[in-house]
């Protein structure tokens, strides 16, 4: 029987998708019964959403000619095909 500690660690390390089938089934069963671990999993999902939102903010601050500036810097190195 998996404990809350086992389940939350597997969720948090990101190892769950690669874990053996028995472990994954154990986590699924535990989550079905344990609201605290479900809350923990939701917290982890909230962190993921927040991080992606922050990342979009970073992307929006880029100037439109960002790619062109890189290509310009690469010009002396390209093959000039």
């Amino acid at each position: 029987m998996m404990t809350c500690h086992d389940v939350s660690t597997l969720v948090s390390t990101g190892e769950l998708p690669e874990a053996p089938l028995v472990r994954r089934l154990g986590v699924r069963m535990h989550l079905a019964m344990c609201r605290h671990c479900r809350a923990f999993r939701r917290q982890v999902a909230t962190i993921a959403r927040a991080a992606r939102a922050a990342s979009l903010t970073f992307e929006r601050e880029l100037p439109e000619d960002f790619e062109s500036k890189i290509v310009q810097r690469l010009r002396p190195l390209d093959g000039g095909v």
Binding site: F40, Q43, V44, A48, A51, E59, I70, L74, D78, G79
Partner: protein
């Protein structure tokens, strides 16, 4: 996504401007937001990304096409980032967050301090702003792994390849990053009913 067939790889090796432009278009913004997520300022991140592409072209002969172009570029980004940070910060064997996490369970592995249900009404913008402050509390390695695993959604195996760390180490750093962010966000009142 750019397909890495022989023709495309050949064009990249010949430094065909159109093939290079396609890589820049596909990966440039992604690399920039990763660099920003790793803690670099706007101008540093822009400069870092330009450096990554210069190195990519200079080392393209070594690129065998077995890895995805993105993984290769993120490897260069990681390497450049470590060069810039100069002092290679050793990962701590023990991080205080481990103790905080462990203290939330009793000897049988049950929650002593169960997690509160997260707020459901936090806007994406608000969430993004809050986590930006919290990211400052992560170590450089935790921040890098968090960015690559969580935001770029790279697999643990890809992050191992990029960072040269073992899969267990990547898992530990990801866990510590998430738990530190969780503590920080809880400290800001997330999860408390409004």
């Amino acid at each position: 996504m750019v397909q890495l067939d022989d023709t495309y790889l050949g064009r990249l090796r010949r430094r065909d401007p159109e093939a290079l432009r396609a890589v820049v278009d596909e990966q440039g913004r992604r690399l920039y937001r990763a660099a920003r997520g790793m803690g670099y300022s706007k101008s540093e991140a822009e400069d870092l990304v330009q450096d990554v592409f210069v190195t990519f072209i200079e080392s393209i002969e070594r690129f065998e096409g077995r890895a995805q172009v993105g993984t290769w570029l993120f490897g260069i980004l990681h390497h450049k980032s470590q060069e810039r940070r100069r002092t290679l910060v050793r990962d701590q064997l023990n991080d205080p967050i481990d103790q905080i996490f462990e203290s939330q369970f009793d000897a049988r592995g049950n929650w002593i301090r169960p997690p509160p249900a997260p707020d459901r009404h936090v806007s994406a913008q608000e969430a993004g702003k809050a986590i930006q402050d919290c990211l400052e509390g992560l170590s450089p390695s935790q921040r890098d792994v968090f960015q690559l695993r969580q935001v770029e959604e790279l697999s643990a195996a890809e992050v191992c390849k990029i960072s040269g760390k073992t899969i267990t180490h990547v898992g530990v750093l990801f866990h510590r990053a998430r738990m530190k962010l969780r503590e920080c966000l809880e400290g800001k009142g997330w999860g408390r009913s409004q």
